[in-house]
Symmetry: C2
Subunit: 154 residues, 2 copies
Amino acid sequence: MQSNKDEKTYRVRKLEITDKNKGFMELLQQLTVCGSVSDDEFQKRFEELRSYGDDHVICVIEDTSSSKIVATGSVFLEKKFIRSCGKVGHIEDVVVDSSARGMQLGKKVVSFLADHACLMGCYKVILDCSVDNKAFYEKCGFKEKEIQMVKYFI
Amino acid sequence: MQSNKDEKTYRVRKLEITDKNKGFMELLQQLTVCGSVSDDEFQKRFEELRSYGDDHVICVIEDTSSSKIVATGSVFLEKKFIRSCGKVGHIEDVVVDSSARGMQLGKKVVSFLADHACLMGCYKVILDCSVDNKAFYEKCGFKEKEIQMVKYFI
């Protein structure tokens, strides 16, 4: 007997505005505090990010059997003067739905984002993660380098 | 007898296009590889970053007695869906000229950048640094949080 999981198909693509109705914000809530985001606020932020074109990309994976977003992550390109006016990709907000783990979806998201940064001419891609997630990112081809420091305003 | 250092005055301000002639790129070379950047390339990147307005700010400190840029750092604002469509400031490329250390110029740059992020409504400001620089950033009000992972493309 086949399990339901085997019957599922996953589509890796960029975020679409209708993804708010497919559980995108609920998925982000598994990562951190999301607060309340109205449809208008979502649309405004979506349009703002879309205006950056290839400089800011959000990847999602949709479970096409349920039309739910089950994984996501974003990358934005920072433009520098160093490294001959080089660019660096910053990966942020990677999360996989708790019911969809163990199927390499996180790895697919990170590959999508890193490939995008590479294609856009970045000399490196970086991210910050907890020590617990270090092994996962090593499997994605990353190496530990520095430490992240933070200052909270609220 | 007064030392030369006491006679110097320092001006904290945003990067200007003429700073390429005031040693801005040579200063960045003390941080990492800069490669060759022509005047045209510098102008193009400068204009590109300026078009981001308050979303990307480069701070410099000019030694007005020598018209040399002796410290710099940048901050850019990342727009998110989490935290009620919140914003995060990312501080990058902080460096103080080797001849101008010990005068709190680095702290002035970091304060300038963190204050900007706060004023623009960011809920936090983050940066990555080596373990050796941890104590400096702690003096600037930062705390260690995560680890930075990197993947190089070249």
